[in-house]
């Protein structure tokens, strides 16, 4: 579709006069309404060709799935009393394990999980940028997705820096770092949510903006509430360690993966029509 056939400066096609003459208003009879309708159709076609956000939704959904072993391992570990740290020798996000938090009332940080999230978020945003570059080469139109990736990386770096700084003085954490969002161990999803909003703006997509709202709501619930309670009220309860972890994880991950599948399915269905 998008091979460069000479580009500007190419010799005019001998048959070009039969198509349109570039030097004049070639459509004096065009009605303004007709012209506006054509432009609207063109705009919709470009937007459809440009949209490629199913991939970041799927990517961050899969990244979320990748945390399952780390969350499970953390939830099975016996909590040490009152420890709420990220070890200083490994750069990791201050992610705690929900199971440990629920059992002891004192959350325990999981360095491996924090390290995984750090690498996965930064790597995910870089892969997202590469994906949009590839899509632009194939589709011939580009979206400014770099802003969304930059937002995600900057937020990740801020958390990484603010966390140790916030522990320098007693009383600082509440000011510098929203620690209450970390106690269920799901706050990295909030970073993904914010960057999805920025991506929705770059994509000029109300659909993605809606997904971002839904996802951020799911992430906030996962960050601040024990989803297992809801399942318990519905009549199912398990004392297994996974029961305190997976429902919280399933909420944001489910929104991402189901949205990705729906968006991709919709695109294929439209292409097949």
């Amino acid at each position: 579709m998008s091979e460069d056939t000479n580009g500007p400066g190419a010799a005019a096609d001998p048959a070009g006069g039969a198509r349109q003459d570039a030097g004049t208003s070639a459509d004096p009879d065009a009605q303004p309404g007709e012209l506006l309708s054509e432009l609207a159709v063109l705009r919709r076609r470009v937007r459809a060709a440009r949209h490629a956000y199913w991939f970041p939704l799927a990517l961050f959904g899969l990244i979320g799935c990748g945390t399952i072993p780390f969350y499970l391992a953390g939830s099975q570990r016996a909590p040490t009393s009152g420890v709420f740290i990220a070890r200083g020798d490994i750069p990791a996000l201050p992610v705690v394990t929900p199971g440990a938090a629920g059992l002891a009332g004192a959350p325990v940080s999981s360095v491996l999980l924090g390290f995984y999230w750090l690498l996965a978020l930064v790597g995910g945003f870089l892969v997202m940028t590469a994906w949009y570059r590839r899509h632009a080469r194939r589709a011939g139109v580009t979206s400014a997705a770099r802003g969304a990736a930059s937002t995600g990386i900057i937020l990740t770096t801020l958390v990484l820096v603010l966390w140790p700084v916030s522990r320098l003085q007693p009383g600082w954490p509440g000011v510098l770092f929203p620690w209450f969002l970390t106690i269920h161990g799901m706050f990295p999803f909030l970073i993904v949510g914010v960057s999805l909003f920025v991506l929705a703006r770059a994509e000029r997509s109300w659909g993605l903006a809606g997904i971002a709202v839904l996802f951020l709501a799911a992430a906030l619930v996962a960050c601040s509430y024990d989803v297992e309670n809801v399942i318990g009220r519905l009549g199912y309860f398990s004392g297994a360690p996974w029961f305190s972890v997976l429902p919280n994880l399933a909420l944001p991950v489910g929104v991402l993966l189901l949205s990705a599948a729906a968006v991709l399915g919709g695109r294929r269905w439209q292409a097949a029509r």
Binding site: P8, G9, A12, R19, A22, L35, L36, V46, R50, T142
Partner: protein, 115 residues
């Protein structure tokens, strides 16, 4: 259509006809198409523009030259691997010109509809 074509004569109290706001460089179906596509995307590839607008390379090239000389688009030539690639990006004046054109066309439609 000249920019001054529909302007009210000096001393006339009647407001200028909307067509006086039309810009010759923009008021052309394919150039409007180029501006619309590049306003919708961060930038558009030459091949995409050619296919979307149904133009020959030579014709599209001439339209782009008009728009580029008017400062309404920027043309970036480069390579991807060994393949030449040309990207077109709308400028701020290009966005303004497109918005003005759309506003003028909308006003014309409104006048036509109101009889």
């Amino acid at each position: 259509m000249s920019a001054a074509a529909g302007a009210a004569s000096p001393g006339s109290a009647s407001p200028a006809h909307p067509t006086s706001g039309l810009d010759d460089r923009v008021h052309q179906r394919h150039r409007l198409g180029v501006l619309t596509i590049t306003a919708e995307a961060e930038r558009a590839d030459f091949g995409y523009l050619r296919e979307a607008l149904g133009l020959t390379p030579g014709n599209l090239s001439r339209h782009l030259t008009v728009l580029e000389e008017a400062g309404l688009v920027q043309v970036e030539k480069g390579y991807e691997g060994r393949r030449p690639r040309t990207w077109v990006r709308i400028t701020r004046p290009g966005r303004s010109a497109l918005a003005a054109e759309i506003a003028t066309l909308s006003e014309l439609v409104r006048r036509l509809d109101s009889g």
